[in-house]
């Protein structure tokens, strides 16, 4: 998948994201150096907000807190970053894994954390 940065003009029409496809807590599985810019854990809330949680030794992460949505029939993940910039990522969503590729070609995979009450 080619990484894709967001462009204002020509923005794809937003599709209604599948409710709950990403909702929940996810733990980063990727350990490549380029993936260290992404939080150790990310929680997608019902609705459109998310919260990233840094690992103990992590510095600033790209996804810290903001909004998210799935577009293009869940093939594109749009996230607001630490500077509130909207960035689009090609995404693959499976039951217990979500993978993105960023503009630098870094592939990052998250696995769904244990669900709890």
């Amino acid at each position: 998948m080619e990484p894709m940065l967001y462009e204002g003009e020509g923005m794809p029409s937003s599709s209604h994201p599948e409710a709950g496809a990403l909702v929940g807590r996810w733990v980063r599985e990727s350990t490549d150096e380029c993936a260290e810019r992404y939080p150790a854990e990310v929680t997608f809330n019902p609705g459109t907000t998310y919260l990233g949680t840094r690992g103990a030794d992590q510095g600033m992460v790209v996804w810290d807190a903001g909004i998210y949505r799935l577009e293009d029939d869940d093939r594109t993940l749009v996230m607001s970053t630490s500077s509130d910039e909207l960035v689009s990522y090609p995404v693959r969503v499976e039951d217990d894994a979500v993978s993105i590729v960023d503009a630098d070609g870094c592939a990052v995979t998250y696995r769904r954390a244990d669900t709890s009450s």
């Binding site: 204002g8 923005m11 733990v27 854990e41 949680t53 500077s83």
Partner: protein, 760 residues
């Protein structure tokens, strides 16, 4: 919440004569702020008591006429010489007036041709500055007399919209400030210019000054002079390589210096500056040169916000304050951080750039290009801290704004989207603003625009740095959710109760971070986080040989759903008294707790109740201990131990020692077992409930929490299937029908508390 930390007790130097030497961290030293200390007393000891009344004179002379039997003349009674009182020491009022605000600094090293110049910030209004309530920081630059600074003359202001500021040194620009400082140790070459906070070129930055001690006595005794004494840790700056923007500071100070200053006559005219001070600076007790300070502003920093608005968009306007006494706007918000922010509302109806659809989401590249085309052509980031805000329409779903400038020169500008807004998908707590455009919700619009401008001054989301709160640097949905959640912050309504202010962390960053980190065109966004830049008022940890904080849990293996009592003990290992908080309970706010689970996720654990009215610093003697404990179960951030597995409970106790934040940290590990029986499973499900959480946080017997009463009654029922479990055992003294012991959260801190079972 009470205004904790304002009770102050002067700390004579002799109570803490030891200078701590924690490895890798700056020194924490006691100070005597605005008071004399015992060292000021004359050698003869304390002042004498009240003088006695006049001594009686000699007896009257002989009685008239002889008196039988009496000798003649009657011998005089002995007289005593008047008492030899010690000379009464002279008490002298100092009237130093080392006031708050920004000082212009000139340093001339011995045998050096070129001075250093810069700014010194004295901040007695900083939150979290401890009982003595002062933070001091500064920045120094190399100064050359040639070439003359250019581009600062005749700044043209198109329109200034704001609420007015109170800069005592006036509003007119002082473009030759840096030259005046270099050319004259006192006075001003060009008396028609008003003195302002000076701005220096980025490539001449030299070092950051982190204040560690301030003494500015109200009076002295005897021959001791009235002097201001300032101690700093100085961090020399390494400039970035050509083409990059992030330099570096060392992790430990390059040196420690002391300034000893005398008040000297200031500028003759009030708009030329306030009190002036002159003196010497020392390293290791050795004279290194002269220092001159002149007060120039009651603000700590100054900057310019230029706003340009695209056609079809609307820029944020001032909004009424909550009291109805005035307006709030960008300048008043930044005044909360003691910034003088001049707002220039420049162009409106800027034409839409070719090829851009203005009512869609904008790319960072297009916003940057727009900024470059409309910003003042004379912008020079080496002579002013100018940030740019472009307002464009966009639409709902574009995140309301962005700090787009991570292109080339960092953080030149940001953008706000007037036709974006508050979709209900972002939060169900937007209230009257739900699905409205920003232009129609002025208070929320001003908040989010200020949020982006503050990103441009290199501040980050508080969800990531501290916690979600109702402050400028939390995201908009977070603010709405905090307002709506009765236990996650100040309850209120979005947008009316939006707090147009920075929290203490961001406020102190803006006031005291080094210039290169903050200023436009300096360090790249967030590159300072989490460490990498010194800042006055960072907490300095004691070395283990000096102070320890031991943290233990009453068990090292807890059942899922069982509360755990965590105890922490502060011990003074030094040979002298240390001023430490007299109450280490979480409720007293000197201690904080966090819990990390196996995945490394760390969450704060906050007390449900705040009781800090009686907290203060008090001496802890050599070898003495102070303890506190808390039942860890639930807080406003959720359940602390809600998953099986390894957990680490960390407690930090932090306070201000003479203006220098210090602290100690300790942690304990414990294991949470997964339920192994149906009974444990059932009981965990019963108690992992928010109402039960509040019941425990309140220490039990909160009978208004009826669901909690029902659940705990069932928990304690002898007839339930599976019988008792470790969970029900752990709730023994919290059951609704039991007479509880004094709960852990209400126990006062006690010295030498009985040690708890140590954790693994």
């Amino acid at each position: 919440m009470c205004d904790c930390g304002t009770e102050h007790r002067a700390v004579p130097d002799e109570m803490n004569p030891v200078v701590f030497e924690p490895s890798g961290v700056p020194l924490a030293r006691p100070i005597a702020t605005d008071a004399y200390d015992d060292a000021d007393l004359p050698a003869g000891g304390p002042l004498p008591g009240p003088m006695p009344g006049p001594m009686p004179g000699p007896l009257p002379g002989p009685l008239p006429g002889p008196v039988p039997g009496l000798p003649d003349p009657i011998p005089e009674l002995p007289t005593f010489p008047p008492p030899q009182l010690p000379p009464y020491p002279q008490i002298k009022l100092c009237r130093l007036d080392f006031r708050d605000g920004c000082y212009e600094v000139t340093i001339r090293r011995n045998r050096s041709l070129w001075p250093q110049v810069g700014t010194l910030r004295v901040d007695r209004q900083a939150p979290d500055a401890g009982p003595d309530g002062v933070i001091v920081s500064g920045d120094l630059y190399h100064q050359r007399l040639w070439p003359w600074p250019v581009g600062t003359l005749g700044t043209v202001v198109t329109e200034v919209k704001g609420t007015g500021d109170a800069d005592d040194a006036g509003d007119a620009p002082s473009p030759l400030t840096s030259v005046a400082v270099a050319a004259a140790s006192r006075g001003v070459l060009f008396p028609w210019w008003r003195r302002r906070i000076p701005i220096f070129p980025r490539n001449r930055y030299h070092s950051y000054l982190q204040g560690t001690r301030l003494s500015a006595p109200f009076f002295t005794i005897g021959t001791r002079p009235c002097q201001v004494t300032l101690d700093f840790d100085q961090f020399d700056y390494t400039h970035p390589a050509a083409g990059s923007f992030k330099g570096s500071f060392p992790s430990s100070p390059s040196r420690s210096v002391r300034w000893v200053l005398n008040r000297v006559p200031g500028p003759a005219l009030p708009w030329l500056g306030g009190p002036s001070f002159e003196g010497r600076f020392y390293e290791g007790g050795v004279d290194q040169g002269s220092v001159h300070l002149t007060w120039v502003s009651s603000f700590l920093r100054r900057a310019v916000l230029e706003i340009d608005t695209l056609e079809g968009a609307v820029a944020p306007d001032p909004v009424p304050n909550a009291a109805g006494t005035g307006n709030e706007y960008f300048d008043t918000i930044f005044a909360g951080a003691r910034w003088q922010l001049s707002v220039e509302v420049d162009q409106v109806d800027v034409p839409v750039p070719a090829g851009v659809t203005p009512d869609q989401c904008w790319s960072s590249a297009n916003l940057h290009s727009l900024m470059a085309s409309v910003r003042k052509a004379s912008t020079n980031l080496d002579t002013e801290w100018r940030t740019h805000l472009v307002v464009v329409p966009a639409r709902l779903g574009c995140a309301r704004g962005v700090m787009y400038d991570q292109i080339d020169v960092p953080r030149e500008g940001s953008a706000s989207f007037s036709d974006d807004g508050y979709p209900d998908s972002d939060s169900s707590n937007f209230g009257a603003a739900e699905n409205q455009m920003q232009r129609d919700v002025p208070r929320a619009f001003l908040r989010s625009a200020t949020h982006e401008v503050t990103h441009a001054f290199n501040q980050i989301h508080q969800e990531s740095e501290t916690q979600s709160d109702n402050s400028i640097m939390s995201t908009t949905p977070t603010v709405a959710n905090v307002l709506a959640g009765p236990f996650t912050g100040d309850p209120g309504v979005f947008p009316d109760q939006i707090n147009l202010a920075f929290n203490a962390t961001v406020r102190n960053h803006l006031a005291h971070m080094p210039d290169p980190v903050i200023r436009p065109g300096g360090w790249p966004f967030a590159s300072w986080f989490p460490s990498g830049a010194p800042q006055a008022a960072d907490h300095h940890l004691f070395d283990a040989s000096e102070v320890t904080l031991e943290v233990t849990a009453d068990t090292d293996r807890a059942a899922l759903g069982a509360p755990v009592v965590v105890t922490w003990t502060l011990t003074n290992h030094t040979g002298t008294d240390l001023m430490v908080p007299n109450d280490l309970r979480l409720e007293a706010l000197y201690a904080t707790m966090s819990v990390a689970d196996e995945s490394g996720t760390e969450r704060p654990f906050r007390p449900f109740v705040i009781t800090c009215e009686r907290t203060s610093l008090a001496p802890l003697g050599p070898g003495e201990q102070l303890s506190a404990e808390h039942r860890v179960f639930w807080s406003s951030d959720g359940f602390a131990l809600e998953r099986p597995g390894r957990h680490v409970v960390t407690v930090a106790v932090t306070w201000s020692a003479g203006g220098v934040p210090v602290g100690a940290v300790g942690s304990a590990e414990l294991w949470v077992d997964a339920p192994v029986t149906d009974g444990e499973n059932r009981d965990a499900a019963l108690v992992l409930n928010e109402q039960v959480g509040k019941w425990v946080a309140l220490g039990g017997q909160a009978d208004h929490l009826t669901d909690a009463v029902d659940r705990l009654t069932e928990l304690g029922s002898a007839d339930k299937d599976g019988g008792a479990s470790r969970v029900s055992d752990a709730f023994g003294d919290l059951m609704p029908s039991a007479r509880p012991k004094k709960s852990a959260s209400r126990k006062a801190a006690s010295k030498k508390a009985a040690p708890k079972k140590k954790s693994r």
